[in-house]
C-alpha cells in the first residue's frame, strides 16, 4: 500500500521533471537563458516534496541532478549566453522559491568558480552560508550533497588551479567541506527528533538510509590533496571527532567512526592511533565498538605487513590497542541497558542480558586482537600471554577466579595443568563466548612454537571451560599443530602439550560416561591424537625416544578404549626409530667425531616396544600379535648388522606373538589369520634364530594350525605351514614339507565327508604339490601329482553335479598350466612322465556344462 503510493508519487514527479527538462534543454539549445532557468526551476520544485522515502527522493534527485548537468554545461560555455558570471549569480537569486533558488545558485556558482571571475573561497563560503536557509533534514541533506558534488573539483585545494592568494588555500577547501559535513551531520541527527514518537522506528530506518549523504563529506575530505598526515592529525581528525562526540547519538557515532576508518588512509590511522582509540573510549556506551575496532585492526594488519616501515617511530601499536581494550574490559558491569538503537548491540564493556552477563562481544574482540597481534608480531610470545591474561581478567570478573582451592596454577605441573575439571571458577563459560576462548587458545599454535604453553594464562583460561569445551579446545589444538606442521621437538613442551589435551587423553572427573560417547566421533578424535606421534621430530634419538615415552605414559592412562587407537602408532614409531639408534651406536663405537653413544640404547627401545605390545595383548590381541611380529622382524634386521646380538630378542617377540595367539585369540577367523601372519613372518622375514629356537617355534605353529576349529582352516593352515620347513634355506626340511602336504590331504579327505563344498581344498593341495615339485623338493614326485590329479578330477566331477563351478574352473586352470608346460618347446622335462590325456576325456565331457 505504502509502496504503491510511493511509486505513484515518484512517477508523477518524474513526469514533471522530464517535461520541464525537455523545455529546459530546448531553451538551452536556443540559448534562451531566461526560459532555461524558468524550466530548471520548475523541475527542481519537484524536490520540495516531503512525501518520498529517502531512496525514492534520491532517485528523483539523481534525475534532476543529471538534467542540471546540461544547464551547468551551458553556463560554462560563456560565448553561448554572453552574460557575466556575477550577473548570472545575482539573477538566479531572484527565483521565488528557496529550494530551486539554491540549486540554481549552486549550479551557477560552480561555473562561476570555474570561470575564475571571483575568488573560489568567497563563492564557496557564500553558497555554504546560503544553504543554511533549508533546514528540512532530508531536503537540506540533499542540497548540501549537491553543493559538494558540484564543487568538489573546484576547491582551492593544494595544487589545484583555484588555489591562490585570492582564491584561497587548502584551509579554505577544508573549511568548506568541514562546514558542510558539520551541517549535514546536524541535519541528519535532527531527524530522530522530528515527528511523532510512534513513527520513530520508521524515522530511524530512513535516517539509516540517509547516512551516505553524511559519509560522502568525509570521502571528499579524504580526497583533498592538502590532507597530509600532519594536517589530518593536527587539524582534520580533531575537528571530525569533536563533531562526532557532540552528536550524542548512537547511530551517528557508530557510523562516523566506521567511515573515518574506511575513508582515510592507513598512514593517517597509524599517525593518530591513540587519538582515535581514545575517542572510541569516549563514545556512548550503546555504540558497538567491535566492528569498528575489528575493521581498524584488519586494515592495519594488512597495511603494516605489506609496509613494515610505515609505522611511525615511537608508535607502539600493540601497546595502544592493549591499553584501550583493557579499558573496555575494566569497565564496571552495567545495569541492563535501555533499549538500544536498531542494529546496535552494545559490547562496550561486558553486557548484562537478563541476569546473565555476556562477555562474548569482548571475547570476540580479544580474538581479533590476538589475530592482529600474531600478524604484526609473529614472534612475540609475551604479547600473546598479555592478551590471554586480559581475557582471564575479564572472565574472572564474571565467573570468579581461576585459581580456586586445590588447583595447581603452575603450568609445569604434570597432572593438574590441563585438567580444568577440578576446582577453579565456580561456574563455567557457556554460550557464544566459548568459541572465542577455543580460538584464543588454538590460534597461537598456528604460528608459535609449543613453548607458548609454558605461559600460565593458557592454563588459567582452560579452567573456565567445561569438559565438552575443553575437549573442543584440545581437538582444535591438536588439529592446529598438525595442520601447521608445528614440530613436537622438545620433551617438556610435549609433556605440557599432552597435559593440555588431557580431555582427549584420559577420563576426567567430568568426562561423560562411555555409553554417552559417539563411537565414530571418539575414534576420529583418537586418530587425530595418534597423528601427534608422527609430529615428534628431533635430530637426537634420545630426545625423540624421551618424547615417545612421554606420549606413551600419557596414552597409558587412557584406558583400553583409547589405547587400542594410540598405542599401535606409538609402537610403529618406536620401531622406525631403531635403525637410527643402531647407526648411532655403530658410529659412536667407531669413534666418529661428535657422535655420542645413545643413552636410550636399542635394548631399551625394544623393551619399550615389548611393554607397550604387552599392554595391548588383553585389549587388542590381534593388533598385539601383529606388532610383536613386526618387532621380531626389526630385531632380525638389527641382528643382521650385529650378528648374534638380537637373536634372543627376536625369539622373544615371536614367542610372545605365539603366547598372545594361545591365550587371547579365540575367534577362529582371527586364529587362522594369526597363523598366516606368524608363518609369513617366520618363514620369510626371520633368519637369525638359533636352529633349536626356530624348530620349536615352527613345530608349535604347525601344531596350532592342525588344531584349528574348522577342518578347511586346518587344511589350509597346514598347507601354509609347509613353508616353515622350506622357505628358510638354513632350516629346509623336504621331508617335513611332504608330511605337511600329506597331513593336509588327510584333513581334506575328512572335510569332504561333511560337505562336498570342500572340493576346492583338493585343488589347492594339488597346486601346492606342483609348487614344491617345481621347487625341486625331491620328496615330491610326479606320481604324487598324477594320483592327486585323478583324485581331483573325480571330486570335481561330483562338484559339477552339485552345480558348483568354482572347483572346475580352478582345476582346469591348473590343468591348462600343466598342458602348457608339456607343450612348450623344449618340453619341460619334469612333466615328461605326467600323462594328462587320461584325464582330458572326462574333463572335456564334464567341462561342457560349465
Amino acid at each position: 500500500m505504502m509502496e504503491q503510493e510511493q511509486e505513484r508519487l515518484l512517477d508523477e514527479a518524474t513526469a514533471v521533471v522530464k517535461e520541464q527538462a525537455f523545455y529546459m534543454k530546448r531553451a538551452i539549445d536556443n540559448e534562451n537563458i531566461r526560459d532555461a532557468l524558468k524550466h530548471a526551476s520548475n523541475m527542481i520544485c519537484e524536490l520540495r516534496t516531503s512525501l518520498l522515502s529517502p531512496k525514492n527522493y534520491y532517485d528523483l534527485y539523481m534525475q534532476v541532478f543529471q538534467e542540471l548537468q546540461h544547464l551547468a554545461g551551458f553556463f560554462t560555455e560563456r560565448q553561448r549566453h554572453s552574460r557575466k558570471m556575477s550577473d548570472l549569480y545575482e539573477s538566479v537569486q531572484h527565483a521565488g522559491n528557496i529550494l530551486p533558488r539554491l540549486y540554481l545558485l549552486i549550479t551557477v556558482g560552480a561555473s562561476y568558480i570555474k570561470s575564475k571571475e571571483a575568488p573560489a573561497k568567497d563563492i564557496l563560503k557564500d553558497m555554504t552560508e546560503l544553504c543554511k536557509g533549508v533546514q528540512h533534514p532530508m531536503r537540506g541533506l540533499f542540497l548540501r550533497y549537491y553543493l559538494t558534488q558540484m564543487c568538489k573539483d573546484k576547491l582551492p585545494d593544494t595544487g589545484s588551479e583555484y588555489e591562490s592568494e585570492e582564491g584561497g588555500s587548502v584551509n579554505d577547501a577544508f573549511d568548506f567541506l568541514l562546514t558542510n559535513f558539520t551541517e549535514a551531520t546536524r541535519l541528519w541527527a535532527r531527524i530522530q527528533h522530528s515527528g511523532s514518537a510512534k513513527e520513530r522506528q520508521r524515522r530511524e530506518r530512513e535516517r539509516h538510509d540517509l547516512r551516505v549523504l553524511v559519509g560522502a563529506n568525509l570521502v571528499r575530505l579524504s580526497q583533498l590533496e592538502g590532507m597530509t598526515r600532519d594536517f589530518y592529525a593536527d587539524v582534520a581528525l580533531p575537528k571530525i571527532l569533536e563533531e562526532m562526540a557532540s552528536t550524542k547519538d548512537t547511530m551517528a557515532q557508530q557510523y562516523l567512526l566506521d567511515c573515518i576508518i574506511q575513508v582515510f588512509s592507513d598512514e593517517c590511522h597509524l599517525r593518530t592511533l591513540d587519538q582515535f582509540l581514545s575517542a572510541c573510549m569516549r563514545v556512548l556506551p550503546s555504540v558497538d565498538l567491535k566492528p569498528i575496532l575489528v575493521n581498524l585492526m584488519k586494515r592495519l594488519a594488512n597495511f603494516v605487513s605489506a609496509n613494515p616501515d610505515a609505522v611511525p617511530e615511537g608508535v607502539d601499536i600493540f601497546g595502544l590497542f592493549r591499553r584501550h581494550l583493557n579499558e573496555l574490559i575494566d569497565r564496571p558491569v552495567p545495569a541492563p541497558p535501555p533499549a538500544t538503537a536498531p542494529g546496535a548491540t552494545a559490547i562496550n564493556g561486558p553486557t548484562d542480558r537478563g541476569s546473565q552477563v555476556d562477555p562474548s562481544g569482548l571475547l570476540e574482540l580479544q580474538v581479533a586482537f590476538l589475530t592482529f597481534t600474531l600478524t604484526l608480531y609473529p614472534e612475540r610470545v609475551d604479547y600473546v600471554d598479555l592478551i590471554l591474561g586480559s581475557t582471564v581478567t575479564l572472565l574472572s570478573r564474571i565467573y570468579g577466579s581461576p585459581s580456586g582451592p586445590g588447583v595447581a596454577t603452575n603450568g609445569k605441573d604434570k597432572e593438574a595443568s590441563g585438567g580444568g575439571g577440578e576446582g577453579g571458577p565456580k561456574r563455567k563459560l557457556e554460550g557464544k563466548g566459548v568459541d572465542s576462548v577455543v580460538e584464543l587458545l588454538a590460534t597461537p599454535l598456528k604460528s608459535l612454537s609449543l613453548s607458548i604453553l609454558e605461559m600460565d594464562h593458557y592454563t588459567n583460561l582452560m579452567k573456565f571451560l567445561n569438559f565438552r569445551t575443553r575437549k573442543q579446545v584440545a581437538i582444535s589444538m591438536v588439529r592446529t599443530v598438525l595442520a601447521a606442521g608445528t614440530p613436537l621437538d622438545e620433551p617438556d613442551a610435549v609433556q605440557r602439550f599432552f597435559s593440555f589435551i588431557t580431555p582427549l587423553i584420559r577420563d576426567e572427573e567430568d568426562s561423560p560416561l562411555d555409553e554417552e560417547v559417539d563411537a565414530e566421533e571418539f575414534a576420529s578424535e583418537q586418530q587425530q591424537v595418534c597423528r601427534l606421534i608422527h609430529a615428534i621430530r628431533h635430530d637426537d634419538t634420545d630426545q625423540v625416544f624421551a618424547m615417545y615415552t612421554t606420549a606413551r605414559n600419557a596414552f597409558g592412562k587412557g584406558g583400553p578404549r583409547r589405547m587400542v587407537h594410540t598405542l599401535p602408532p606409538t609402537v610403529a614409531a618406536a620401531l622406525q626409530l631403531i635403525p637410527r639408534i643402531q647407526q648411532r651406536e655403530i658410529d659412536a663405537a667407531s669413534g666418529i667425531e661428535g657422535v655420542a653413544p645413545p643413552s636410550y640404547t636399542l635394548k631399551k627401545v625394544f623393551q619399550f616396544v615389548h611393554r607397550t605390545c604387552t599392554e595391548l595383548v588383553s585389549c587388542a590381541p590381534e593388533v598385539a600379535l601383529r606388532l610383536f611380529l613386526q618387532a621380531a622382524v626389526m630385531a632380525n634386521k638389527c641382528d643382521a648388522i650385529n650378528p648374534g646380538s638380537f637373536e634372543p630378542i627376536c625369539y622373544e617377540f615371536v614367542t610372545q606373538a605365539l603366547v598372545c595367539y594361545e591365550e587371547e585369540l579365540s575367534d577362529s577367523r582371527a586364529q587362522f589369520q594369526g597363523i598366516l601372519m606368524m608363518v609369513g613372518t617366520l618363514s620369510s622375514h626371520v633368519t637369525c634364530l638359533e636352529p633349536d629356537n626356530y624348530d620349536t617355534l615352527a613345530a608349535n605353529i604347525t601344531q596350532h594350525g592342525a588344531k584349528l576349529l574348522k577342518k578347511p582352516d586346518q587344511c589350509r593352515a597346514i598347507l601354509v605351514c609347509s613353508h616353515l620347513f622350506w622357505n628358510n634355506p638354513l632350516r629346509r626340511n623336504p621331508q617335513r614339507v611332504l608330511e605337511c602336504l600329506q597331513k593336509a590331504l588327510k584333513i581334506a579327505d575328512v572335510a569332504i565327508q561333511s560337505s562336498p563344498a570342500h572340493v576346492a581344498l583338493f585343488v589347492e593341495i594339488l597346486d601346492k604339490y606342483i609348487y614344491y615339485y617345481e621347487q625341486e623338493n625331491h620328496h615330491i614326485t610326479v606320481s604324487y601329482i598324477s594320483h592327486l590329479m585323478e583324485l581331483c578330477n573325480e571330486q570335481v566331477t561330483y562338484a559339477d553335479e552339485d552345480s558348483m563351478t568354482e572347483p572346475r574352473k580352478n582345476f582346469n586352470a591348473t590343468l591348462n598350466y600343466l598342458k602348457k608346460k608339456k607343450a612348450q618347446l623344449p618340453p619341460d622335462a619334469k612333466y615328461a612322465e605326467l600323462d594328462l590325456d587320461k584325464l582330458s576325456t572326462s574333463t572335456l565331457n564334464n567341462g561342457v556344462g560349465s
Binding site: E19, Y23, K55, D59, K152
Partner: protein
C-alpha cells in the same frame, strides 16, 4: 538543425571492494595514482572531456562503493548509463567470479531498454602485480566471450598500462549506445504560445 551542442556520456564503474575502481578513474581523469586504500561511500563521479572520432564528448564517470553498506540509498545513479564497466582484480579470483552478479545487478537496477545489447566493458586490474596473478587471461576472455563478446582489457591503475585504451573503448561504446538509446521524449502537453519559438520536433543527438 539544432542539435545539442554537448554530448554527455554516463559511465558506471562496478566491481568488488578493493579491485581499484577509484584508482582507475583517478588514473584516467587525473593521471594520478596512490597506493593508499580509501573506501568509497555512495557514488561519486569525475568528468573528462575527450575527442572520440572527431566528436567532443563529456564523459561522466561514476565510481561506486564496492561495499554494500556504503550504498544505503540504493543505486539510482545506474539509471541513464551509456556504458557499464565491470572491474575485477587479476590477483583475486573471487572478484572475478562476482562479475556475473555485478552485471546482473546492473541490468536489473538500471533497466536499459535493450539489455542484451547494452555495452559492458570488463577490466582486469592490477596488471602490475603480474606475479600474484590468479585469473588467467584465457579464463577472463572466455567469460567475456560468453557474454555477447564484452571487450576485455587488462589494466594497471598503478602504471597506467592500458588505461587510456580501455577508456577510449568505453567512451566509444557509450557514444554508440547514446546514439541508439537517446530517448525521444515528447511532452504530454505542448504549450502553444506566441512567445515560444516554433516548436521543433525533438531529435536524437545526430541525424
Amino acid at each position: 538543425m539544432a542539435s545539442r551542442k554537448r554530448v554527455l556520456l554516463k559511465v558506471i564503474i562496478l566491481g568488488d571492494s578493493g579491485v581499484g575502481k577509484t584508482s582507475l578513474m583517478n588514473q584516467y581523469v587525473n593521471k594520478k595514482f596512490t597506493n593508499q586504500y580509501k573506501a568509497t561511500i555512495g557514488a561519486d563521479f569525475l568528468t573528462k572531456e575527450v575527442m572520440i572520432d572527431d566528436k567532443l564528448v563529456t564523459l561522466q564517470i561514476w565510481d561506486t562503493a564496492g561495499q554494500e553498506r556504503f550504498q544505503s540509498l540504493g543505486v539510482a545513479f545506474y539509471r541513464g548509463a551509456d556504458c557499464c564497466v565491470l572491474v575485477f582484480d587479476l590477483t583475486n579470483p573471487k572478484s572475478f567470479e562476482n562479475l556475473d552478479s555485478w552485471r546482473e545487478e546492473f541490468l536489473v537496477q538500471a533497466c536499459p531498454r535493450d539489455p542484451d545489447n547494452f555495452p559492458f566493458v570488463v577490466l582486469g586490474n592490477k596488471l602490475d602485480a603480474e606475479g600474484q596473478r590468479k585469473v588467467s587471461h584465457a579464463r577472463a576472455s572466455t567469460w567475456c566471450k560468453t557474454k555477447c563478446s564484452i571487450p576485455f582489457f587488462e589494466t594497471s591503475a598503478k602504471t597506467a598500462e592500458n588505461v587510456e585504451d580501455a577508456f577510449t573503448e568505453i567512451a566509444r561504446r557509450a557514444l554508440k549506445q547514446e546514439h541508439t538509446d537517446d530517448q525521444i521524449y515528447l511532452p504530454e502537453t505542448l504549450t502553444l504560445n506566441a512567445n515560444q519559438p516554433t516548436v521543433q520536433q525533438p531529435t536524437g543527438g545526430c541525424c
